[in-house]
Amino acid sequence: MSSDLFIELRNVSFAYGERPVLKNINLRIPRGRLVAIMGGSGSGKTTLLRLISGQYRPQHGEVIVDGKNVATMNSNQLFQHRRRMGMLFQFGALFTDLTVFDNVAFPIREHTRLTENMIRDLVVMKLNAVGLRGTQDLMPAELSGGMARRVALARAIALDPALMLYDEPFTGLDPISLGVIALLIKKLNDALGTTAVMVTHDVHKSLDIVDHVYFVSNGEIIAEGTPDEVRASTSPWVRQFVYGEADGPVHYAYPVNTTLDHDLGLQQGGEHA
């Protein structure tokens, strides 16, 4: 593997029980790049993220992160892997019984032996980076959705991770908060030189900030490219997704084997005919 590559998925397949979710995925993410994985709900993109974080193990294939196969790591190796990783969850996943300060300080206290004074300085710096200095004493319940997401971002970058994972970071945010989060993701990624993977279906905001996009559908990567290539793509699937068309390769109607007349009992010989 080239040393320039930070994440590489080779022939990865994953299934929940009998139901296949990812089929023979191959994906390469260079070091320091911000990459988006897009696709409809249930397409398998969050599963991809969980494979990279080591929460799931693939039934087949290799998940290589920084030269190490996550799929074969034991629990100690996984914990070492995760110490170099930050993740922003869909709704922040802040610890509701801790203050903003303690939430951001949590990974620092767990993994370092820094003094409380140094921890305080670090937390203030991280909160300042997301524009929330002064909120240290608030509880998560006192924050708006956008603020909670920013605190979660501050917590995720508390230990300056080499890899950042974003799970639907824009879900449920108003346009202003959404713009703020997108800007922060881009700025922090540039400043920290982190490799980042973002799972999202917010096309337009994501295309403004990412370096590369993978499209996932039915557990397979069906298209990829830079934001400009995506915008210019002639692929019917990509066009349907990017422009939000109701019908196309992804059908509007749920696939059924019967006709509406049949289901309503209007066919010849039906009960109501």
Binding site: G86, M87, F91, F95, T96
Partner: protein, 261 residues
């Protein structure tokens, strides 16, 4: 005809296999808690915090319930003993009933309803809101950080709460027997003093409450950790905690009583 009998037998078999599977999961979960408890003891403040939530905040319900149970025991005990001219033995009856049976059992049932259900709901909601996942991603074990401190807090709190329940119950019996009915105070206490054996009655009662504490807290943390991460899932896990705890407490009480007394 055969199918008529086969269906319930199949269902019974399915339920039995499920119960055995679940028992296996609980046992493995307990082993995981014990293996990861080192951190809880090294950072004992985490356990102390949970003792406050599980134990200290249960004091009101334990104290008030203990008092009323003792008062009822005093009334009923006096009425029955008086028929046989043995009302002097009221102190012994109240103390032995509480120390051997009612104290540990009722305190454990109250603890399961108040603190056990709260533990299940809290851990279940942490799971539903991805807080446990977030900990895992931060390379922090949720079992070490969330489950083990609560488990040990329950194990520590339960015997103390049961002892307080007993004290309040004995005081309740005193209020009814001595203050309300007018029995001799010295007789009440001396009868109790003569009948109660420290090891046989008091220590065995505390051992019972320790066993109940382990069982109830294990059920509570397991149900929370195993809850389906939805509103309905957390709700049914909380219900399961209270129902399972009650049944396990009563079953264990029978077994322990058979061995101890």
């Amino acid at each position: 005809m055969l199918e008529l009998f086969a269906a319930p037998v199949r269902k019974l078999g399915h339920l039995t296999i499920n119960a055995i599977w679940r028992l296996g999961f609980v046992s493995r979960f307990l082993i995981a808690i014990l293996m990861e408890s080192g951190q809880s003891f090294m950072r004992f403040s985490l356990v102390i915090r949970e003792v406050y939530f599980a134990g200290v905040l249960s004091l009101i319900i334990i104290i008030v319930s203990g008092l009323f149970v003792g008062m009822v025991l005093g009334l009923q005990g006096y009425n029955t003993l008086a028929r046989f001219g043995s009302s002097d033995a009221l102190g012994a009856l109240v103390a032995l009933s509480l120390l051997r049976e009612l104290g540990p059992v009722l305190a454990a049932l109250l603890f399961a309803s108040r603190s056990g259900s709260a533990m299940t709901a809290e851990i279940g909601l942490m799971k539903a809101t991805e807080q446990l996942d977030a900990m895992n991603i931060m390379a922090v074990s949720p079992i070490a950080r969330v489950v083990a401190p609560r488990f040990w807090a329950g194990v520590i709190s339960m015997p103390i709460l049961a002892a307080l329940f007993n004290v309040m119950g004995i005081f309740g019996g005193y209020l009814v027997g001595v203050v309300m009915i007018g029995l001799d105070s010295g007789t009440y206490w001396s009868q109790m003093n003569n009948s109660v054996d420290l090891h046989y009655d008091v220590v065995n009662g505390l051992i019972k409450s320790l066993v109940f504490g382990i069982a109830v807290t294990l059920i509570a943390v397991f149900e929370g950790y195993d809850a389906t991460p939805t509103a309905a899932g957390v709700s049914s896990a909380t219900t399961r905690t209270v129902v399972t705890s009650a049944l396990v407490i009563l079953a264990l009480d029978f077994i322990l009583t058979a061995f101890m007394f």
